[in-house]
Symmetry: C2
Subunit: 196 residues, 2 copies
Amino acid sequence: MSDAPARRPGRRSGPTVSRGDILAAARRLFAERGYDGATIRAIAQEAGVDAALVHHFFGTKEQVFVAAMELPFQPADLLPQLVGGPREQVGERFVRLFLALWRDPERRAPVLALLRSATTNEQAAEMIRQFVTEALVTRVAGALGVPPLRVTAAASQLIGLAMVRHLIGVEPLASADEEEIVRLVAPTIQRYLDGD
Amino acid sequence: MSDAPARRPGRRSGPTVSRGDILAAARRLFAERGYDGATIRAIAQEAGVDAALVHHFFGTKEQVFVAAMELPFQPADLLPQLVGGPREQVGERFVRLFLALWRDPERRAPVLALLRSATTNEQAAEMIRQFVTEALVTRVAGALGVPPLRVTAAASQLIGLAMVRHLIGVEPLASADEEEIVRLVAPTIQRYLDGD
């Protein structure tokens, strides 16, 4: 029911509604066409707005996805933190950043929701697979000069950590101290990302 | 509406129906009371049979659970394969056995179903958490003399491997050769299980 989102000074809720409309349209399109198949143009069309407005509100398709899924991070912003700094501490940086993302129940809720969708819905799994590949795996592999297989191995350890710690909740990992987890898991990630 | 499960030579489907009835009752009880809370006696009562019959058909509570969830392995049978053999190859044995369990789509389907339940249903997660703790973590930790935290860390890597390879399906891990996965992941499991 929302109409054109052009700025109307007399109607305060106008732009707010449009942002929500665009994100709802984006969620539908990503679910239907996958991350690769949904374009900014198609999302704009689905929302009944101009593509320029989607760009103006959110930026790139990746940023639209992050906003639509309410992810607590922008992959492009994380990359410098991960790949910058001493190469021999890259494993520790990955684990610390990952633990920080999962620490706060409100921040991890949308990531948990995505993980749940991936396990129960093949269409959602496809969308998440494409996003993870493009926004995370390919980018980290390129930035570190590491084969993508090794990046996905590192991802598997971190995703498994989230599963066992937060989703299944197996003790003593579920309530282990973060520093203890860093000591245990950082060498794993380091080894994967050190390459052959 | 199955009745008493006593052997009746003239009624071929009798015992078969009883097995199914008992497993259905077990699934209800495990879901309602968790793995710890469901007893053989309660399962028998729920199924309307004698506890001795449940023992006769399935054995221990752990074996009832495995049959009810259609798991492709009995933890008690796996243990000798895992902890027997050279200690410096324990990581490789875990990874090879895990890959073998997940190789066949029919065998992995019930494990995937459990993993899905754990991610979407807190009651199911509780049940699985208790089973994993008792049947796998505590037992492996005891047999290898390794702190349970290190066993759960190893479990997190293996569960993450299954998630990324079979549930989300991120390439190139999803279609990587098993030998390549052994080379990548076995040293991780070995390090966790080597202890401090």
